[in-house]
């Protein structure tokens, strides 16, 4: 029996899994290669074409459609994955051919249900096949019991590689995904990030045979270079000059080195996945070549929904956003989109104050923002709730002060040089225009910005209805004169707009905006109604009680709300972030995917969710461990970690 189980998501589509093939158990992501004396990978060979010692391989490829071969009756006793027959070199023959290759594999399985058990079989996905067509076929394979697919890559980083990656995103979420072909080490982080579970290292051997030493990002033709690189690995260390090394020794050394390079990059990727920083590793690898960069950009653009679904909404530690590769990363793009969609400014805001971001996060802990806040207090005193503080930053766009603790705002780290490139400028301009459109035309916009930030406001100006006052006229925003001018302008406005001292709304604004951001527009006023009693220190912990019953609490360190049962009941009628549980009773601290057939597709790993039972009542609240669609599709795995449940 072959079983593939996903044990732990998520850092993007990347996942840790476990593949069980009768006696053999391997954790994934795993490498795959030809059998060797001590192979640290899944081994593969070809049915009845390899030496007998290879027949224990964990993946057996059946000969191609055209090959002369005998019937495959003997496969029953094998505990290997079986790669179904297809043909090489057909990708330029169009959709019809691609479809025929799938239909051949389907027919092959249907004719031999006994000798080739479908659970063991791997569909070879034809390069370039249309996604919709593929999905139609996959459901038929699924019905037969197939749970694995293989994809072909050539490391050219062109349209073929993109096609395979895109098709990978189209297979059922719980299938095993195998990448075959020529795969250079620098592709590994990307493939793992995209959720490939098994990766072919055949390239290690063919490169060695061509006297090519593989490195993390580049390849070295050891007999052709003027300067051979130093390598301290256990294989290379005894070699001074490959040119003077006997052929067998050279081959063995290069093979060993190349294999270890794959192992090294693989383990680095897995370690980064555990830290939630795999995306960062992928982005940093794109600097290997322009084509890597454009491949990632294309992936971000065209399979964003796939990447985003598996990208958690919570995280720990610093989130490095290192350059243009980060502008459209799922975390960043999702934040920008959600802000537009879910944030509504509190009605009592009459002044919008645009501020630059700070290198230190959260912003309000930074020196510059502490200065701003003193200047604001000096200017407007107890009426500061009428000001919508809005921070401009790259590549997230703009951040309302109320959301400064939300993930990833309190965590991201960017190179702060003050120079904005055209793309980040246009991202920020766009975000600013959309944000200001949510305020009334009478609101006054104060731009306390300089340098690149000022360019953004200037560029946005023609698309903004409100009038803009610049308060730092040419000076740095933190300078005494700028801060004084901010204070003066606020004093002026206070009297002109007849802003009276109002009650402190900071806690309410923050909690409501957070609720809206987390659960969608309108949830803020349900969880934190006007009658709510808010207690605690903002940015530490704030609890919200309505008639002595707690609905939720705001945790400053995560910038998120956690629900109580009462809170869950308040938002359940909106049917958002709801997981429908089939069981009668929740045992223990989790519910598992097997008990879920319906869940809000918007749910992401890390989200706060409401568990609703068959009788339509709230059974529990908790934190999701997978995406909504995964909960529905998976037969295994923890779906929700319960925080509170009905007694």
């Amino acid at each position: 029996m072959s079983i593939f189980r996903i044990e732990r998501g998520h850092d993007g589509p990347a996942r840790i899994g476990r593949l069980t093939l009768d006696e053999l158990e391997t954790s994934t992501p795993s490498l795959a290669g030809p059998p060797q004396e001590e192979s640290h990978w899944l081994t593969y060979s070809v049915y009845e074409r390899s030496s007998s010692s290879d027949s224990a391989a964990s993946m057996i490829a059946l000969p191609t459609i055209f090959a002369s071969h005998d019937e495959t009756d003997t496969l029953t006793h094998k505990s290997s994955l079986v790669l179904l027959p297809s043909i090489p070199g057909s990708s330029s023959l169009g959709q019809e051919m691609a479809e025929l290759l799938l239909s051949w594999q389907l027919g092959f399985l249907r004719e031999r249900p006994k000798s080739v058990p479908p659970q063991h079989c791997v569909v070879r996905i034809p390069v370039g096949i249309d996604t919709v067509l593929l999905k139609e076929y996959l459901s038929q394979f699924s019905e037969l019991g197939v749970r694995s697919a293989s994809f072909l890559l050539n490391s050219e980083l062109g349209s073929d590689d993109f096609s395979s990656v895109k098709l990978r995103s189209a297979i059922p979420r719980n299938w095993l995904a195998i990448a075959l072909g020529r795969i250079d080490p620098h592709l590994l982080p990307l493939l793992i990030y995209l959720g490939f579970d098994v990766i072919d290292i055949g390239r290690a051997f063919s490169a060695a045979a061509k006297n090519v030493r593989l490195w993390q990002v580049t390849n070295e033709k050891v007999l052709e270079v003027d300067h051979q690189r130093f390598c301290s690995c256990r294989h290379c260390i005894s070699i001074d000059d490959f040119g003077e090394t006997a052929r067998d020794n050279r081959l063995e050394t290069l093979t060993g080195h190349n294999i270890d390079m794959y192992r090294q990059v693989m383990s680095e990727s897995i370690s980064k996945m555990h830290d939630g920083q795999l995306r960062w590793l992928v982005e940093s690898r794109t600097h290997a070549s322009p084509s890597m960069t454009s491949l990632l950009r294309r992936i971000d653009r065209e399979i964003y929904e796939f990447l985003e679904e598996f990208t958690p909404t919570i995280g720990q530690g610093v989130l490095p956003l290192i350059g243009p590769e980060s502008y459209h990363s799922p975390i960043v793009r999702r934040f920008r989109e959600r802000l537009v969609e879910r944030y509504a400014p509190p009605p009592h805001k009459r002044i919008v104050l645009l501020l630059p971001c700070s290198a230190r996060k959260p912003y309000s802990d930074s020196k510059s923002h502490r200065r701003f806040s003193r200047a604001i207090e000096n200017g407007i005193g107890r009426s500061e709730s009428s000001i919508a503080e809005t921070i401009i930053t790259s590549p997230l766009g703009i951040i309302p002060r109320e959301l400064e603790r939300v993930y990833p705002i309190a965590q991201y780290d960017i190179p702060v040089s003050g120079d904005w490139d055209t793309e980040e400028t246009s991202i920020a301009v766009d975000a600013l225009v959309k944000h200001l459109a949510k305020f009334s035309d009478e609101a006054v916009v104060l731009a306390h910005v300089s340098g690149g930030y000022q360019t953004i406001v200037n560029e946005a100006e023609s698309r903004i209805k409100q009038s803009i006052i610049y308060t730092s006229s040419g000076h740095s925003t933190g300078s005494r004169s700028s801060l004084e001018s901010l204070t003066e302008v606020l004093q002026d406005l206070k009297s002109k707009l007849e802003i009276r001292a109002t009650e402190q709304k900071r806690l309410q604004d923050t909690l409501r905006s957070t609720a809206d951001f987390q659960f969608g527009k309108g949830t803020g006023s349900l969880l934190i109604p006007d009658s709510a009693h808010l207690k605690g220190k903002l940015y530490h912990m704030v609890t919200c009680q309505v008639e002595e019953v707690q609905t939720c609490s705001f945790i400053g360190s995560s910038g998120a709300l956690s629900l109580t049962m009462d809170g869950g009941e308040r938002i359940a009628p909106l049917d958002r972030y709801v997981v429908r549980f089939e069981g009668a009773e929740i045992k223990g601290g989790s519910i598992f995917a097997v008990g879920v057939n319906e869940a809000d597709p918007v749910i992401r790993p890390g989200d706060e969710v409401v568990v609703v039972g068959k009788d339509n009542t709230v059974m529990a609240v908790g934190k999701s461990e997978m995406s909504g669609p995964e909960m529905c599709e998976f037969e295994k795995g923890r779906a929700v970690s319960i925080r509170h449940k009905r007694k």
Partner: protein, 366 residues
Amino acid sequence: MEDTLERIQSVIISASTKARGSSIAFRRQRNPTRPAASWITTSRIGNSTGKALSVVFSTIGCSHARGESGGCTMCSYLLDGTSVPPSAAELVEQFAAAMSKLDDEEAPLSVKLYTSGSFLDSEEFPSEAMKSVLETIAQDPRITQVVVESRPDYVTESNVSLLRSILGYRHIEIGIGLESMNERVRMLCVNKGFSSDDFEQALLTAKQQNIGVRAYVLIKPPFMTERDAILDSVLTVRQSAALWASTVSVNPVNIQRHTLVEQLWTDGLYRPPWLWTVVEVLKRGHSEIPQETNLVCDPVAAGKARGAHNCGRCDQAVIRAIRDFSLDQDPKSLEGLDCECKTDWEHVLAHEDVSLYVHSDRHEGR
């Protein structure tokens, strides 16, 4: 499943037709009185060696390629043909021009009559011309061997008895592009358009007149892995020898213009066979066929990017060994060859089968 195969076949046929495209319209109009090519080589004639004159007649080309069926996936012989069909008299003139090259040669001689299609197809090569050419040969006692080429459809009783009656005692061989004994490979990968039965029938017909058949075996049609290619060719060599083919000639695919194979090659989806593959086919083939069957190979464009090739360093030595073996039929000629690229080839054999990734020159460099 059969239905799927048929549809795969029709996709390949239309791809092949498309690759040929309008190229046929640009065929040159050749001088109808000169052969497209003619040359003299040293060749195996019976059990000894002698000179062989090969004549490629300029004709309108192969009926299979001319017609709806799209032609074979690797063949652009049609392009070597001429757009205006030469008359019988002109064909005879072509032959006379070529024959003059044999003036100073001594027996035993062999004459190989090639067209860009079938010598026995009367539409391509009118019967009067055929008779006249054969009669000219019959008058030359130095010529002891005659080879013609034809698709099996034209290996009819009347044609073979004509050959026999005019050429008399001479050793006659008809070359037939069998390519592969595997029906799927021949029909789909090559788009050959005839069945194994057609081939066997032609073989029997020829045998009645004691005419031998020279089976052409294709090494590495498209859509096969390098190891598929070896296994298929070895099997075909063995089976065609068992069917009484007098000579088996293995032909590694070379990239000809305006063919499906060329298009695949350009896209990095096809690589001509390694010379190691050719050596392997010859070695294994030789050990599996009877002594009296000749196994020969004259690889076209060998050592070049468009022909069977290795790494570039060892190609010439390997080609020489292949040629030597073809002349002396001694497997020792194929021994002792080695090069670093052999390791790469061995890896390709194993890896292509598993991954179906084409280790083409475009991807892998050369």
